[in-house]
Structures are given as C-alpha cells and as structure tokens.
C-alpha cells in the first residue's frame, strides 16, 4: 500500500495514485476513533439527542473556523474573533432591547438585530484587515489589540455584568437555536450553509485561488495582478461575517452576552483549522478539514462530559493530548514527502 505525499492544493485528479492520503483522511479518522471511544464509554453517545447536541454545538466554532480558514490560508491570523463575537452579541442585544418600543417584540426586531450583527462583523473585519494591510502591522498584533478592545467594550456596555435580551424577544428568537428543520436544528443548517459557501469560495472561485496564492507567496501574487491588500482585507471581512453568523445563532441560545462570552474561541477556531490540515503559515487551506476539526474539538468536550473516570481537573490534559495525537496521526506520513 503506497501513500500519496503531495502537499498540494488538493484539487487535480490524483486518481492514478491509489492510496490513503493521511493528510486528508487524518482528521476524519481521528473523529471516527473519538466517536468509537465515546460509544464505548457510554452507548448513549450515539443517541439522536446527543448527536444533535454535538452538531449544534460545533456550529459556533465551526462557522467561525470557516472564516479563519480564509484568513490563515492567505497568511494572516485573527485572534479577535472571540471578543468580536462577545461585542457583537452585546450590541445586538442592546439594539434589540431598545427597538422593542418602536418595533415590538416580533420578527422585525430580531431581523434588525441580525442586520446590525452582520454590519458589525463586516466593520470589525474591515478594521482588522485595514490595519494589517494599510497600517502594515503584523496581524498578530492588530488582532491581539482589537481582541482586548472588543472584550473591554462588552464589559463596558454590560457595566461589568451581563447584557440580557428582553424576555419577549427571546420568545420570538428562541426557535433560531432550538427548533429543527428536517430533523436538524437550525444552527446546523446555518453551519452547513456556511461550510458549503466557504468550500465553494475557497476551491471554486478566483478569490479562493487568490487567497492561496497570497499565502503561498505574496510577491508572486502581486506580480500576478492580484490586489493583495484587497484580498487580504476581504479575508478578514469574511471572518467578521462568519463571526456575525455564529453570534446570530449564539444569542438565542443563552439570550445574553457578558465579558466571558466567547473567551478562547479564537484559539479553538484556529485549532480547528489546523487540526483540519490547513497550514498556519498560509498557502494551503481546507474547508472540509476545518469542519472536521471543529467536530473533533466539540466531540472531545462531549466525551469528557460522559465519564467521571477522569478527574475533572484533568480535562485540559485529555484535551491537549487528544489534539496532539489527532494531528500526529495525520502528519505521520509526512517524512516520505520530504525530498
């Protein structure tokens, strides 16, 4: 059994090579193993209820991670997504609560909130993008800065406490998180939609090709008539938009936002992206892998809630070990590729 070693853009027909591509299948295998472990620990793992919960939970991180795949593929990084989600959720709630008097507690108010969320996401993404490209500051620093800023803004808006959505609006908005369509909860549908759009955008459009080219070699991209600054800024805007979508389905879940909303989501999102096989230095992105990465992360958390064999304090240890092993698995045939 021979294995392919291309670290290529994963398109092209590689039919002639008959083999298991660990780079591509790695995340899938890791997820499968996790599911088997989950089932062995407790057969209820594969109950419909649990699987639905799992998918729904993955939706947040998954949607954000789809955006992160673009940013990372184009050679950037965005650390601000968690705080951005908190800030957007906060503003959304404030706006909707204030709109009750004029618009009532029905659908228009919710739509207004969602509209605001989308605008804020685009705006926040644009700020990150512009500071990185026009300001020529390293993305790491820009987004570390905006991370602090958004986080403290939400604390400020909430006056240190929690912003909560008006209870009547909650009634209108709740179904967005809790209801299902064809057996799948709405957040899962949104996730699927975002994933498909993301996949098409990255793999089937010129824009996606440009992201990859920029991440691979910025100078070449520039000489190939690509407007590097614009494409990079757009990746941040896509990231912002994904954060908006995640927030729109997050808010009806808990109906509130506070300084602790979305803490560490950035690391989870980036971890999902990289577990999925995207290269952190840019130039190679995989939306499918990202989705699997998000599912893997959620499943780890889910499994750890399934058993009390392990001290609660050691959850982090298990999580860390599983992540490392999952990636080790897919990197296991890398050696062959090198020279």
């Amino acid at each position: 059994m021979t294995m392919s070693t291309t670290s290529d853009d994963g398109e092209g027909k590689t039919a002639k090579r008959q083999s298991i591509d660990f780079k591509t299948l790695g995340p899938a295998i890791a997820l499968l193993i996790l599911c088997i472990i989950g089932f062995l620990l407790n057969p209820a793992f594969i109950s419909e209820g649990n699987l639905t919960n799992l998918l729904t939970r993955s939706a947040f991180i998954g949607i954000i991670a789809v955006g992160a795949t673009f940013v990372i593929t184009a050679g950037g990084i965005d650390l601000s997504v968690g705080s951005m989600a908190a800030a957007i959720a906060g503003v959304m709630i404030i706006v909707m609560n204030n709109a009750v008097e004029t618009l009532g507690t029905g659908v228009p108010t919710v739509l207004l909130g969602c509209g605001i969320a989308v605008l804020l996401g685009i705006g926040a993404g644009w700020i990150n993008g512009a500071l990185t490209t026009k300001g020529k500051i390293e993305a790491f620093i820009v987004t570390l800065g905006t991370m602090g800023i958004y986080r403290s803004l939400v604390t400020y808006f909430a006056d240190g406490g929690t912003l909560s959505l008006n209870f009547d609006i909650r009634g209108t908005y709740r179904p967005v998180y809790y209801d299902s369509f064809l057996g799948l909860p709405f957040p899962v549908w949104v996730f699927i939609g975002v994933a498909i759009c993301g996949w098409l955008l990255l793999n089937r459009t010129a824009f996606g090709r440009y992201c990859t080219a920029i991440g691979s070699n910025e100078a070449v991209a520039k000489y190939s008539a690509i407007n590097v600054d614009r494409v990079k800024t757009l990746t941040y805007i896509i990231q912002g938009l994904c954060v908006s979508f995640a927030t729109i389905i997050y808010v009806p879940r808990l109906g509130s936002a506070s300084a602790s909303t979305g803490v560490l989501w950035e690391l989870e999102a980036i971890a999902a992206v990289i577990i999925g096989g995207t290269v952190l230095k840019g130039g190679y992105g995989r939306i499918g892998g990202t989705i699997l990465g998000a599912l893997i992360l959620t499943t780890i958390g889910n499994i750890l809630n399934f058993t009390d064999m392990i001290s609660n304090y050691l959850n982090g240890t298990m999580q860390g070990l599983i992540i490392i092993v999952a990636v080790l698995l897919q990197r296991s045939d890398w050696k062959l590729g090198k020279n």
């Binding site: 670290s7 459009t205 010129a206 090709r209 070699n217 100078a219 070449v220 991209a221």
Partner: protein, 507 residues
C-alpha cells in the same frame, strides 16, 4: 590554456548513476568524472537531468542506483550539504541565500569563525570584504541579501562557494544571470581555482562560455549520457547539435522591418520613479524594442513603475493614447499590458503549487464562468501551453518547484501570455533556457510581433538584443542614454552608451 588533464586521476567519479523520483525516471546510468584542476562542463536541454546529477554528486540527492567514488573509493555522501566537509561544494541553480540575513552571514553560514565560542565578526567581515574586492562587487558585507539585485545575489553565491576551500566546486548555471563583464570576472576566479588544483563542474546553457572555459564537456540528453569530449574538439554548434539531437538552423529568425508609421501603443513621458530618472520613449504596434544596459541600470524599474508594481513619482504614461499613469497591475493587464519578471522564484511562480494554478493565475478572470473557475478550460489551457511552449515535465502532477529551471521559465512565459497581451514586456526572456528552446522563444517573439503584438525585451545578453530587436533603448543609472536603430544596433555602440561614454541628446 587548457592543461593536459587526461593523465591525472579523478577526484570524484559518478558511476552508472540512475535516479527516479517516485516512479518517474530522470537519469539513466550516467557516468562522469572530475579531475583536479579541470573545468568539466555539463550541458543538455532543459530537463535533461543536469541539476539532478549535480545534486547527486554533492550529496543532496541519493542515487537510485550506481555509486559515487571519491579518490577512487566508493563513498556514500552525507546529506544536506554536509559533503562540504569532504571538500564538495555546490552552488544551486536556484539561489540559496537567506534573504533577511547579511552578505557576511550568508557567506559564513554553517562554518562561522569563532573565538572563545563567540563569533569573530571582524575577521569574517574582513574575509568577505577581501573576496568582494577581489571580484569587484560593490556591496558591503553588512548589506542584506533582500536589497541586492539577482546578479549581485549570484555573485554572493559565488563568493560563498569560492570562500569554502573546495576540492570540487560544482556550479549549476552560475552565469545565467550575469552579464558578460561579470562572467569575465567570475571566470578569472575559476581559472585561479583551477590553477590551485580544484576540480570544477560547470553547468551552462551559454555554449560560448562553455567553449571558453571548459576542458572537457559532458552532454546529457533526456537523462542519458551522450558523450564526454575535450572541449577543443567541439564548437558551440556541435555542442548544440549533440544536446538537441538534431541540427539547429539559425538561432535568430529573419528580422522583419518594423512599420515606422505604426500606431504608438505606449508612450512614456518624463517618467520618474524609484530607480528611474526622467525616462521617455515610445513603443509602436508590432515593434520589438530592446532595453539594454548594465545590471542595475533601471530597466526593470521603468517597467515595474509603468505596470503598477511600484509607485510612479512623476511623468505620464499613455497606453493606446489614454493616460494611464499609476494604474494597478490588474488594470495594466486588462488594458493588454503584461510584464514578465526576471525573478521567477521570488516573483514569478508559486513553487509549492502545480502547473495549472500557476499557469492561469495571472489571467484568472478569463477562466471565470458563472462566478466559478472553469477547470476544464484551465486544463485545456494547460495542454495548449505545454504544447506551445514545450514545457517538459516527466510527471505532470509535480509542484512547479520541482520542474527543471528552464521549464519553469517556459511556464512563466506561458503564464504571462495566457492573458493575450497586446504589449508584453519580457525581462530576461531566456534566462536558464537551452539553445534549442531559445531558438523557439526568439521565433515566438518574432511571430508575436508579426501578429501586431508589441514586445519589449529587457536583456543583459547583447546578442539576444541585437538578434531580435528593431530598436534598442540603452539605459544607465536610471536614465536613457541612447535609442539605437538599424545599423547602430551593434555591440560596440550599445556598450558605449551603457558605459556612459556616449550620450545622445534625446529631445
């Protein structure tokens, strides 16, 4: 000048070397040897396997079969350049310098001079300075590589190699990016080394150089050993013939007179930009305009400014009569103006991607149907380009970085032509290209011009300029010193303008 080396024993010998990359064979039982104090040239078409053989000789690749003998003893070479300890030094075809580091740091990378565990930087700088002075390179040991021109980088590579006290010095196309003067300086170094008994392997597509410097010549064709002969028995023409396997007709196509009344497609007036000082010229439809000058004379800078790759400071650019000053690269492309960079590795190709995405990257909007990329159209374009430009890759699925240097250059040309430009600027069109293909490219340029495309050829190879261009612009230190036509286009005249000995009143 060639001493009698037939008697001496080889330092290094490659015996029946074969090499495959995965299932793809590249070399078939090739043998060659290098004796002390000889220059052994290795020639062959693009993709013949020269670089691969050189890498095997210096331990960077393992042969699939066959052996390497060092001083008559079979020796497995250590990997990754550790063969340097055995006295074997390779200058890679692709520049191999750390861009953010200084000249001195690069030259001594991996074998720094230390006293008490700390770097003796003064000693290293002095040493580097000595070499720089020796070859007359006007840079400082503390300059960063990223600020140097390609030619300067190549000279740094040479300094790096020369400073390594090699027994065997293997150089893969060291002169591809050098001008004749620089090549002369370089050859002086080579002769010195030769006298001290170093065995030198030299790969080049410039057959005149091979004739001038080599003692023996080995010819490869499609991975097969064809012959090894003393160079006195060969002429550039016979070499070319043995490489290509057929007789080559004229290198340059017959020159069609340009229509002096043709429409002016590009007018540049008083252009000033980084490295460019008040430059004005016109380009007519169907014309081939040469740009000559010494390295760093600003030819590249002119066209980078025109095409939106670097900012213009003042002046104006008229494209088909419209003012297009400070347009973006994409606007230039859409208006039919395309620039082919001379730096294929850093600015030309995505080395970690395959041929298809590279080919279509520049002209990508053309391949978009219903918002998505039409992959079938891309595949067709690739098939066409491979045929049209004779891109040879034994495995169509490898990443572009693994293509042979010349084939990368062809792919780059194909990439730029993919947008069907009306004006194309080709910077060093035949860098690293074998004679056979060179001929094809010159004919290709002539055919383009005949179809009404205007071509700018920026080249440091004088014969190329003289053989293909209708008019020649000569530059020096950022400004134009002369524009030559007809009989004035000859080596002497160009040199005098380029060196600043002569200057035309232009307006």
């Amino acid at each position: 000048m060639s001493m009698d080396v037939s008697a001496s024993v080889a330092i290094i010998e490659a015996v029946n070397i074969s090499k495959s990359f995965g299932p793809v064979p590249v070399l078939f039982s090739v043998s060659m040897d290098v004796r002390p104090g000889e220059v052994h040239a290795l020639i062959g078409e693009n993709g013949a396997g020269k670089s691969t053989l050189m890498k095997i000789l210096s331990g960077f690749h393992d042969p699939t079969s066959g052996q390497i003998r060092l001083d008559g003893k079979q020796t497995p070479l250590p990997p990754n350049g550790a063969a340097e300890q055995l006295g074997i030094v390779l200058i890679h075809q692709e520049l191999n310098l750390a861009e953010q580091m200084t000249v001195e740091e690069n030259v001594f990378l991996g074998r720094e001079i230390r006293t008490n565990g700390f770097l003796d930087r003064a000693a290293m700088r002095a040493e580097v300075q000595k070499y720089l002075d020796e070859i007359g390179l006007d840079i400082l040991p503390t300059d960063r590589i990223s600020k140097l021109t390609i030619a300067q980088k190549q000279m740094v590579e040479i300094v790096k190699a020369v400073s390594r006290k090699a027994r065997i010095l293997i150089m893969d196309e060291p002169t591809a990016v050098l001008t004749e003067e620089e090549t002369e300086v370089f050859f002086r170094q080579v002769r010195k080394l030769k006298e001290s008994g170093v065995g030198i392997v030299f790969v080049s597509h410039k057959l005149n150089e091979v004739k001038a410097i080599a003692d023996r010549v080995t010819i490869l064709r499609d991975g097969q050993w064809i012959d090894t002969r003393p160079s006195r028995d060969l002429t550039p023409d016979t070499m070319a013939q043995m490489m290509v396997g057929r007789e080559l007709s004229d290198l340059y196509p017959p020159m069609h007179e340009a229509d002096v009344d043709a429409q002016k497609v590009l007018e540049v007036r008083n252009l000033t930009a980084p490295g460019v000082d008040n430059v004005s010229f016109d380009l007519r439809k169907g014309e081939i305009l040469g740009f000559s000058g010494l390295v760093g004379s600003g030819r590249t800078a002119v066209f980078e400014a025109i095409c939106g790759l670097s900012p213009m400071e003042s002046g104006e650019v008229l494209l088909f009569g419209k003012d297009v000053s400070n347009m973006s690269v994409a606007e230039a492309r859409d208006a039919g103006l395309a620039y082919l960079t001379k730096d294929r590795k850093e600015k030309g190709l995505l080395l970690d991607k395959r041929m298809r995405p590279n080919l279509t990257l520049f002209a990508l909007p053309k391949f978009v149907r219903n918002l998505t990329i039409d992959r079938n159209a891309e595949e067709d374009a690739l098939k066409r380009a491979i045929r049209r430009f004779d891109v040879r890759s034994r495995d169509a699925d490898i990443t572009v970085g693994k293509l042979s240097g010349g084939n990368q250059q062809k792919l780059l040309l194909a990439k730029v032509m993919e947008c069907d430009p009306k004006i194309v600027i080709i910077d060093e069109p035949t860098r690293g290209i074998d004679v056979g293909t060179k001929q094809q490219i010159y004919h290709f340029i002539a055919a383009l011009a005949a179809e009404g495309v205007s071509v700018v050829v920026i080249s440091s190879e004088m014969p190329e300029i003289i053989g293909t261009c209708h008019r020649v612009v000569v530059m020096r230190e950022g400004h134009i010193t002369g524009i030559l036509t007809g009989d004035h286009i000859n080596e002497n005249e160009i040199m005098r303008y380029a060196a600043g000995l002569k200057r035309e009143e232009l307006h």
